[in-house]
């Protein structure tokens, strides 16, 4: 296998594998109750780290992400629901903190873009097919004569 091919294969395999899930290096950060810890991780995975911006709070090593992880765990233990915890984050950091943007009027175009693109493509295909399906305009007497002359008939 050539080197670029091998690199491409490695990349594909890396993309297939689930991402390295957690940055929590310190097991002391984790909750003793596995169900609660799992819930906390699920919430943290939906939240953007404000410092590194393309990592979730669970993945990031930033100090702020660590603080927010701790707050999520405190709230999980305190019996808050997922919605309450996420709302707490949004109140401080806005919708930007959500890795998956909410569906509302301001994000209509964002969520609607795939539908729009497919619609535009379908419209273009229909238009082209309808046009090519139309019967060609019949030749006039003059054109017919020219054609038979050119064809040598």
């Amino acid at each position: 296998m050539t080197r670029p091919a091998r690199a491409a294969l490695a990349l594909c395999l890396a993309l297939l594998l689930p991402p390295a899930a957690h940055a929590i290096g310190d097991p002391g950060e984790m909750l003793a109750n596995p169900a609660q810890e799992q819930r906390a991780e699920r919430i943290g995975e939906q939240l953007r780290c404000l410092v590194c911006q393309n990592e979730s709070i669970e993945q990031s090593n930033a100090g702020l992400a660590r603080d927010l992880r701790r707050i999520i765990r405190q709230q999980v233990v305190a019996g808050k629901t997922d919605e309450q915890i996420i709302h707490w984050m949004v109140a401080r950091y806005g919708d930007f903190v959500l890795l998956k943007p909410p569906f509302d009027p301001s994000t209509l175009l964002l969520w609607g873009a795939p539908v729009l693109a497919v619609g535009a493509g379908a419209a273009a295909i229909l238009l082209v097919r309808r046009r090519s399906a139309a019967a060609p305009v019949p030749l006039s007497e003059e054109e017919r004569k020219q054609a038979s002359e050119l064809l040598g008939r």
Partner: protein, 184 residues
């Protein structure tokens, strides 16, 4: 296909390229003059009251809490740390604002009090009061995600402006000065 249609089809890609190119140019211009920042974090706390907090002071000064801020508002609340480079860079701008008579209160973010005191000795102290948020927990209630960050608190104790990053002469001129006219 008529010749006109043919010409239109030929020119269409150039048209698209021209539109795309102009859009890109506008984007880059806005990026350069700071009107557009793709890394900007929204300010959901702007328009809301100062969150509830109480912090110890940087010795020998005393700390402050929400009630204390409300009593002395309007004022500028500035989060800083000795380990933060832009904080040292914005120090001259803060000193200039202090000379204009604007009350500035400081909050030390995730830093040792000793280090913060040494920082103020070295860079000048623009603050009337300085509190210490060593765990950085109060800062989170302000929606802070890094230092320096500066908040303008109006007379009613409403947060009117948040600036994430160092204050520069142009930031003060273009953003803060007009707001100060409205809210102080």
């Amino acid at each position: 296909m008529t010749p006109l249609q043919r010409r239109a089809l030929l020119l269409a890609p150039f048209g698209f390229a021209a539109i795309g190119g102009s859009a890109m140019w506008v984007l880059l211009e806005r990026l350069r003059d700071g009107a557009y920042d793709p890394h900007a974090v929204p300010d959901p706390m702007v328009g809301k009251p100062v969150p509830h907090f109480a912090l110890p002071g940087l010795q020998p000064g005393s700390g402050f809490d929400t009630a204390e801020v409300l009593k002395h508002a309007p004022l500028l609340l500035n989060f800083f740390a000795s380990w933060c480079l832009p904080c040292a860079q914005e120090a001259t701008e803060l000193m200039r604002l202090k000379q204009r008579g604007l009350p500035i209160w400081g909050v030390v973010y995730k830093d040792k009090p000793d280090a913060a005191a040494a920082f103020l000795k070295q860079n000048g102290n623009p603050y009337r009061r300085v509190a210490v948020d060593e765990p950085g927990r109060v800062a989170i209630d302000f929606g802070l995600y890094g230092v320096p960050e500066t908040y303008l608190v109006d007379r009613q104790g409403i947060l009117r402006w948040r600036w994430a990053g160092g204050l520069s002469p142009s930031v003060v001129r273009d953003w803060l000065t007009p707001l100060l006219k409205t809210y102080t």
